[in-house]
């Protein structure tokens, strides 16, 4: 089955012009966190000041953003859009190694930060720009990277080998995705959104932050580790009406909300990042009986939004990711590229003006992902008679836990070089709450090695989101004729 819409009819409006027009249209709307507070009008002035200041130094064209505060990340991002630089969003929330890998791979010429003492930055000979002081702390002269002119951002995702993949997202990609989201996402100036995840994720940058500006919504950032009790406190204190999260986070929020006698004033919820399960859908509805719940789907490579489930269908089709957006075409194909009939499982592929240019300096991965103009999502899905899409599993070994994409090979490669460990297998196990749990099987040549020691290794060598949920010691791991690991078949949510 194929759903073909306005293929290749992309809009080419400049992103900053679009954002600035909306910021000025809603001058009294606000962006804030626990320290900062600015109206949209003040934001326009601040972005103008910072973009001019950044451009005054020849600090190159590809600039990383590493801030402790998401408010400052947002200001830095908008300033780079205005200054026509390419932003590389970083987040220290997933560990220093994770950040360093991205810096080593993309090699930005400058980092914008609000924390110059950050240990990640110490070993790099880069320009450092202090966003909250509007000045360079250190300025190295850099020639401009040779980049496409409207390249807004390089959004990094995990890769199987441990080297990140950098999706090159243009201004036009983002504008098209935003205008599509704007058509269905019913949020308005009177709303207040709580953004509790880092802008490092495309789903948060586009699907929460930028779209909120387009609609004039008050934006409140929550910094730090996700703590459901604190998040709910902020929701209550600031009368939050819009909240977006993964099913895992919504599950934890919902369980606590159900303990209150008065419901929270949440009017709109958007859920994305992993497969919804029946248990989480039911609990979410119980905790937020009158909220419009959007189940949405996307991937970084599509800037990211691809489909959405209209909220009036959520209770009847809670496991569906809905219909493609206005300018997205989607089809389900078999391994030979043949379009499949309704209810037949195959790979979901999409074509849209929001699909990335390609992966930064990785032509091989780009040619595997985008073929004949179609982005291959790697998700196995089917469509029903009405065109509603359902995700069933992954084509590759990737595991999605609590909304984070995890490649087993990346973890296995880290563990296999540790002394005492001879072989490792990581796989996902279906879980009704977090989507999948990460299971680890180890073959060791030192019988004295304990789970506690394995945990210590994981804690030191892996970012927190990659630490397995459990470990099992085994005598051998099954391999096929060519010596490759036989991976357990992933079972999806449906």
């Amino acid at each position: 089955m194929i759903l073909c819409k306005n293929m290749n009819k992309g809009k080419t409006k400049v992103l900053w012009e679009l954002l600035e027009s909306r910021l000025l249209q809603y001058p009294d709307s606000t962006i804030s966190d626990e320290i900062n507070y600015m109206t949209y009008l003040e934001i326009v002035r601040e972005v103008d000041r910072i973009s001019k200041s950044i451009s005054s130094g020849q600090s190159g064209t590809v600039i990383g953003i590493l801030c402790n505060s998401e408010f400052n990340t947002a200001i830095a991002l908008m300033s780079l859009l205005k200054a026509k630089k390419t932003a590389v969003l970083l987040s220290s929330r997933y560990g220093e190694n994770h950040c360093r890998k991205i810096i080593d791979f993309i090699k930005p010429s400058c980092i914008i930060t609000d924390c110059p003492d950050n240990s990640i930055l110490v070993n790099y000979d880069l320009s450092i720009y202090l966003v909250n002081q509007c000045r360079y702390l250190k300025l190295e002269q850099y020639p401009a990277h040779d980049m496409p002119k409207d390249l807004a951002a390089i959004m990094c995702t995990s890769g199987t080998t441990g080297t990140p993949k950098g999706a090159m997202i243009t201004e036009s990609n983002l504008v098209n995705n935003l205008l599509d989201i704007e058509q269905y996402f019913n949020i308005k100036q009177a709303d207040s959104i709580l953004i509790a995840r880092p802008l490092y994720h495309a789903a948060v940058m586009t699907g929460e932050f930028l779209i909120s500006i387009l609609k004039g919504v008050d934006i409140r950032f929550y910094n730090g580790e996700f703590n459901p009790v604190r998040v709910i406190e902020v929701m209550q204190k600031y009368a939050i009406t819009v909240f977006c999260a993964t099913p895992t986070l919504i599950y934890h929020i919902s369980r606590i909300v159900l303990r209150f006698s008065n419901p929270l004033p949440i009017r709109v919820i958007a859920v994305s990042g992993e497969c919804m399960t029946g248990i989480v859908a039911e609990l979410t509805r119980k905790a937020f009986p009158s909220a419009a719940i959007y189940s949405v789907y996307g991937l970084t490579e599509a800037s990211p939004r691809v489909s959405y489930l209209p909220p009036e269908l959520f209770d009847d089709h809670p496991l569906s990711i809905g219909y493609p957006l206005q300018s997205v075409s989607a089809k389900i194909v078999d391994d030979d590229g043949n379009t499949l009939a309704p209810y037949k499982d195959g790979e979901l592929i999409v074509a849209a003006p929001s699909v990335m240019l390609g992966y930064y300096q990785n032509a091989v991965a780009t040619s595997q992902a985008i073929r004949n103009g179609w982005l291959h999502t790697g998700d196995i899905a089917y469509m029903d008679d009405d065109g509603l899409i359902y995700i069933k599993s992954r084509k590759d070994a990737m595991v999605i836990r609590a909304g984070m994409n995890i490649y087993p090979q990346e973890i296995e490669n880290v563990l296999k070089i540790e002394s005492g460990i001879t072989d490792a297998l990581v796989y996902g196990l279906k879980d009704e709450i977090v989507g999948q749990k990460i299971m680890l099987k180890l073959v060791v040549n030192n019988p004295a090695i304990s789970k506690q020691e394995v945990y210590e290794i994981c804690r030191q060598k892996l970012p927190s989101y990659q630490i397995p949920d459990s470990v099992e010691f085994v005598n051998y791991l099954e391999k096929n004729g060519s010596g490759k690991l036989v991976r357990p078949k992933y079972v999806g949510a449906n």
Binding site: E225, V229, R230, A402
Partner: protein
């Protein structure tokens, strides 16, 4: 004492580290709990001990060590 043993059993079961917890063990760095799994831990303890934990006590930021957890549970008989 019986309550602490029950709590220890639950921690061992839910913790990746898989070890018997000591009172001074830190829930995050020694036992591998993050803020979400700490809430999960509290709710499993709640069900196991047949108590109702107040929402403010479900805040994982208030807990550092296993002893903190024992102390918190003293409140609920």
């Amino acid at each position: 004492m019986e309550k602490e043993e029950k709590i220890n059993g639950i921690i061992s079961k839910l913790s990746f580290a898989g070890k018997s917890p000591l009172p001074d063990d830190e829930l995050s760095s020694d036992l591998g709990f993050d803020s979400l799994s700490m809430v999960e831990l509290l709710i499993v303890i709640e069900e196991s001990l047949n108590i109702l934990i107040e929402v403010s006590d479900l805040d994982p930021a208030r807990l550092t060590t296993v002893q903190d957890l024992y102390d918190l549970m003293q409140k609920y008989e």
